[in-house]
Symmetry: C2
Subunit: 134 residues, 2 copies
């Protein structure tokens, strides 16, 4: 990438999402109400386009290798409030309103980030966060 | 992965970060003060361990192929307040206190997510957010 191309990517207003070699871009999904981090998933070009065109967040499921309209089975539909993109356009941020019970994690929790790393002896272990923190 | 292994990964308290085929795990970095999303980057096992052992966030720079202690040149050191991990342990969340001028993006902005996607004619373009939003 030339310096001019880098500058356009970072400072320009052209929407040029950069998918990885696997055809995917990382999506960080936060609650539009309070900014809480809910989940991190991936989109291919089709999922990104479907998200922008329908206003309902779609991902690419790597485990099922299929387009995945979040909430189709769980009811936890994510309505897109805003989509942001990062400096070098290889990551997007979806600000969403969550339907159903308000959760985003397949384990039933609101957020996928429900454990923190804590020192344990010479190593590290996980500690569950209180439900009010995630 | 067997159902038992999946259950242990999701509900257990063993810290078992799962690095991708490229040896990297995605890290979502937020400001510990207000939860604002600052940046998304990657860690290899060495960067993750250095982060936990020193309390200063280290990443793996994919462009430079080197361990990267954020802030060494910019002064924007990230002090780790808490590290969380997601349900299937393939993504971490770093809650940080930012040193220097408080920014995280190499463009000089606080957050890398300073533009949003907006409809433009039949397609989409970017719009800069007001500095107060990022």
């Amino acid at each position: 990438m030339t310096p001019d191309q880098k500058h356009d990517l970072e400072e320009g207003l052209a929407f040029s999402p950069r998918f990885g070699a696997d055809g995917l871009i990382t999506c960080v999904t936060v609650d539009a109400g309070d900014g809480a981090l809910l989940m991190v998933a991936h989109m291919n070009a089709e999922a990104l386009e479907a998200t922008l065109k329908t206003g309902i967040v779609h991902y690419w499921s790597r485990s099922r290798s299929s387009l995945w309209r979040k909430g189709d089975t769980s009811g936890q539909t994510q309505t897109l409030v805003e989509l942001r993109i990062d400096c070098d356009q290889d990551c997007v941020m979806a600000l969403v309103r969550v339907g159903g019970d308000g959760g985003a994690c397949h384990t039933g929790r609101r957020s996928c980030f429900y454990r923190r790393v804590a020192r344990q002896g010479d190593g590290f272990a996980l500690e569950p966060l209180l439900p009010s923190f995630h």
